[in-house]
């Protein structure tokens, strides 16, 4: 996304450092970063609601660790590799370690919040059976090795995918594909939770989470913070970015709502009742589906994107479970990996509005607007490369952990619940 890179150089170098425009744009970014951070609360509640009561504490702790460790490691190294401005090349950034000689703090804030989101999403897929120190190590690997490179390729103005003209407004590839694929690798190597598949028939068995109320609270918080997450990527409101930012808000609402309704409708048809849990996932899948494209499309396109996003979610969730036997307690692979892919691809079809920050640079119109398929190839290259990079590195990491027996908790612990064995008792005490 061109917005990020130009902003970091432009706003700190230009003479308008102390103009009202600069104040406003920075405050917009800070507010948005704050909202993106609040997604940690959203994902925390969502994931806590989706696991069983005996593992609640461990999932909450995991989210806390993600946020904290990610902040430290992103501050030390991650941001430099992604957006460091001393001697960057097209593959990786360099310089400004420990935020030395770096003053664009607001930009760091929102990038940190994005990076933390990517980690939290990924670890959701491994809930209820991963050892806790593995979470810590994975957070380090994710924020130092995996995420910054993809962010650099796509969002930094030196990145090679950026040079190719990839369009990813708020992180369909950078955040959701990376998070989805790393989570999937981890979840696959961990194997399913005990009891998830019937031992004889091999049929999947539902292991429902302990609280739908928490789950929906989490989803609503996510919906709220999604406005900061997407509209904040405009990195400001001045210089005719008002209209794009407003349109982003409208588009996000529409695609999320459509995703929810689609999945509820499919559930009603297939299972005979409205499935709230799936519906909530559909809502998030709808939101994810428009992350790459939200600044570039018309509101009506958001409806189509949300609709397809909901369908993609439903069927990928089903296929992952029944064909791949992937046990993803919070469905984050189906939502974020497949939703992220669809979001990246859909830009090539529906894009019609120009760049947000530089309206002069005309974006090639989407296929439906007669823009040809060149953009589609670029998007596909970006998608495949992000998947390969993140999948390969996380695969190696989890494989190594598995080799040393540090990956999965033992059977007794898993049956008793992580909380009782590792965290000094249950999360709930009602008497």
């Amino acid at each position: 996304m061109e917005q990020f890179s130009t902003s970091s150089s432009e706003s700190s170098d230009s003479s308008s450092e102390y103009s009202l425009e600069f104040y406003m744009d920075t405050s917009w970014v800070l507010d948005a970063a704050n909202l993106v951070f609040f997604m940690q609360a959203g994902f925390g509640m969502l994931e806590a609601g989706m696991v069983r009561a005996k593992n609640t504490k461990s999932i909450l702790l995991k989210n806390l660790i993600n946020t904290a460790i990610c902040a430290i490691s992103y501050y030390c190294v991650g941001h430099s590799l992604a957006f460091g401005r001393v001697n960057p090349n097209s593959f990786v950034g360099f310089g400004n370690f420990f935020l030395m000689d770096y003053t664009h703090y607001a930009y760091w804030m929102i990038q940190w919040a994005y990076a933390a989101t990517a980690t939290t999403i990924a670890t959701g897929a491994m809930a209820e059976r991963l050892q806790l120190h593995c979470y810590i190590l994975f957070t380090l690997v994710q924020t130092i090795l995996i995420y910054p490179f993809v962010a650099h390729w796509i969002w930094s103005q030196n990145g090679w995918l950026f040079d190719l003209g990839i369009v990813d407004f708020a992180g369909g590839a950078v955040i959701h594909i990376v998070a989805g694929i790393t989570g999937a690798c981890g979840s696959f190597l961990l194997g399913p939770r005990i009891g998830r598949f019937n031992q004889e028939s091999g049929k999947p068995k539902n292991l429902p989470g302990h609280s739908v109320v928490l789950m929906s609270l989490g989803a609503m918080i996510l919906w709220y913070s999604w406005y900061g997450y997407t509209a904040g990527a405009s990195l400001g409101m001045t210089r005719s970015r008002v209209l794009p930012a407003s349109r982003v808000s409208v588009v996000v609402t529409l695609s999320g709502a459509t995703g929810l309704i689609t999945v509820l409708g499919i559930g009603k048809i297939c299972n005979g009742h409205y499935d709230l849990v799936k519906g909530i996932n559909g809502l998030i899948a709808g939101l994810v589906s428009s992350t790459s494209s939200c600044a570039y499309i018309e509101p009506w396109a958001a409806i189509i994107i949300g609709l397809v996003g909901g369908i993609v979610y439903w069927f990928s969730s089903w296929a992952l479970l029944n064909w791949l036997r992937l046990d993803d307690p919070v469905d984050s692979t189906a939502i974020h990996l497949f939703g992220g892919c669809w979001s990246l691809i859909s830009v090539a079809f529906f894009a019609t509005h120009g760049r947000v920050r530089n309206p002069d640079i005309i974006l090639p119109g989407g296929i439906f607007y007669g823009g040809g398929i060149s953009l589609l190839w670029v998007q596909l290259v970006g998608m495949v490369l992000a998947i390969l990079w993140a999948g390969f590195l996380s695969g190696i990491f989890f494989f190594t952990m598995d080799y040393f027996g540090k990956l999965r908790v033992d059977v007794d612990t898993e049956l008793a619940g992580l909380d009782n064995s590792n965290h000094g008792g249950s999360a709930y005490i009602f008497d």
Binding site: M24, L217, S246, T253, T258, Y274, D275
Partner: protein
């Protein structure tokens, strides 16, 4: 609301600042959905928690889509400034509409109004009927009320010197929502066990989690800051002065109302009542919506104290009339909404009113010597809007009842809606 000019005509930085303000407020108002969802979930019994959340989420999703498609055009579709005073006629599907931040803000208001209704109908209504009234409300009932009261050529705006004044929706949002909810809950009848079948005495059916309930109330309070201060539609000119005043008076009204109820109940029954105090807090927020920008802080204190008794009286009256409103939604939103709208005619000062209307006016609050006219106009407006809602809602719910789509069967009600139509309970404490 539209008393302040729309920002379509403004240019440059101040337009950007104004839109940024409106967008931030919009996000907050959307976040109120999370608050209502938690509020309603906490106050129903555990066996119905999932279905009420489902309704709450469906409201938002379907309502948003319909308001985008039809509602907004009927409410604010004033292309060429030539639409008639009863109904708007253009900009359906946002065609040819550029002021997207204004649209998004109105959108969030509509979603709020709809979600009020589901509280009144909790624990005994088909999910499908919720779909139906959401469609009718967002596409028809709400937009017309909004057009009459808020659109600059709405016919209630043309009455008298100032026209009707409803700064941020005591009438349009809360009276409409509360009124439809009241009709619905009256026609559905009380929950099984709410009134003793022999003596007719009310029996409390306490909700399953006060914690979740309070969380919801706090989120609503937070969102209300966007609701009330965003209605300035900007901060340039006198916008920020009005917004600061609104934030302060609204807080005073809510706190005074809450404190009064707290002490009144303590004095009467010797106990502190959390639920009633929280409801009063919400009632205070509701009555502040119409009047917050027009009064001085001390008047806010008085309005708040009165609000408390309006709510308590309304709640008492509902029980007298054997109407079972699980959330006291009609007492809160209809009762306090009426009081808030009336207090405009009583307490608004000449200075503040002139500032909001952007022209000097000689007609203002009765208590400040502004005469009876404004009070009369407010009263008329309230009656008209209530009559409209009562009529539409009666027709709607009677039809639904005729086709047995309104109330679920007694056995299912006793069992809980979740198990029947939402695929299992909301909580799973074991396994």
């Amino acid at each position: 609301m539209e008393y302040l000019e729309l920002n379509g005509t403004k240019e440059g930085l101040s337009a950007a600042v104004d839109d940024m303000w409106v967008l931030n407020a919009t996000y907050l108002v959307f976040y109120m959905q999370a608050g209502f969802c938690m509020l309603e979930a906490g106050v129903v019994r555990a066996k119905n928690a999932k279905s009420i959340i489902m309704k709450s989420i469906i409201d938002t999703a379907i309502g948003s889509l319909l308001f985008w498609a039809l509602g907004f055009g009927l409410a604010f579709g004033n292309a060429d400034k030539a639409s008639n005073p009863v109904i708007g006629t253009s900009h359906f599907f946002l065609i040819n509409y550029e002021n997207l931040s204004f649209f998004a803000f109105q959108w969030a208001f509509c979603a709020t109004s709809i979600t009020i209704v589901s509280g009144s109908l909790a624990e005994r209504v088909h999910v499908t009927s919720c779909l139906v009234y959401t469609v009718v409300m967002s596409a028809f009932i709400y937009p017309l009320s909004a057009h009459w009261v808020w659109s600059y050529n709405g016919w209630l705006r043309l009455i008298g010197v100032n026209g009707i004044i409803d700064f941020s929706g005591s009438i349009v949002v809360h009276i409409v929502g509360g009124c439809i909810g009241l009709v619905g809950t009256y026609l559905v009848g009380p929950r099984i066990g709410r009134f003793d079948s022999e003596s007719g005495k009310p029996k409390p059916l306490p909700g399953h989690s006060i914690t979740i309930y309070t969380l919801g109330a706090f989120i609503i309070w937070y969102g209300f800051y966007g609701f009330n201060t965003g209605s300035t539609l900007g901060i340039s000119g006198s916008g920020i002065t009005i917004a600061s005043r609104s934030a302060v008076t609204m807080t005073i009204i809510a706190c005074a109302s809450c404190a009064t109820t707290l002490l009144a109940i303590k004095i009467k029954s010797g106990k502190y009542d959390v639920v009633k105090s929280v409801n009063s807090l919400l009632g205070g927020l509701v009555s502040s919506a119409a009047v917050c920008s027009l009064i001085d802080p001390w008047a806010a204190f008085i309005i708040g104290c009165v609000t408390s008794f309006v709510y308590l009286g309304g709640s008492h009256l509902l029980i007298k009339l054997r109407i079972d409103d699980p959330l006291d939604s009609s007492a809160i939103h209809l009762g306090c909404g009426i009081w808030g709208a009336l207090s405009v005619g009583l307490f608004s000062t000449q200075d503040n009113l002139s500032l909001v209307l952007k022209r000097p006016t000689e007609v203002y609050g009765l208590f400040f010597g502004g005469g009876f006219e404004q009070l009369g106009v407010q009263l008329l407006g309230i009656i008209i809007v209530m009559a409209w809602c009562l009529f539409c809602a009666s027709v709607l719910f009677i039809i639904l009842k005729k086709f047995h789509m309104l109330r679920i069967e007694p056995t299912k009600e006793l069992m809980g809606i979740d198990i029947d139509s939402a695929g299992g309970p909301a909580y799973q404490w074991d396994n």
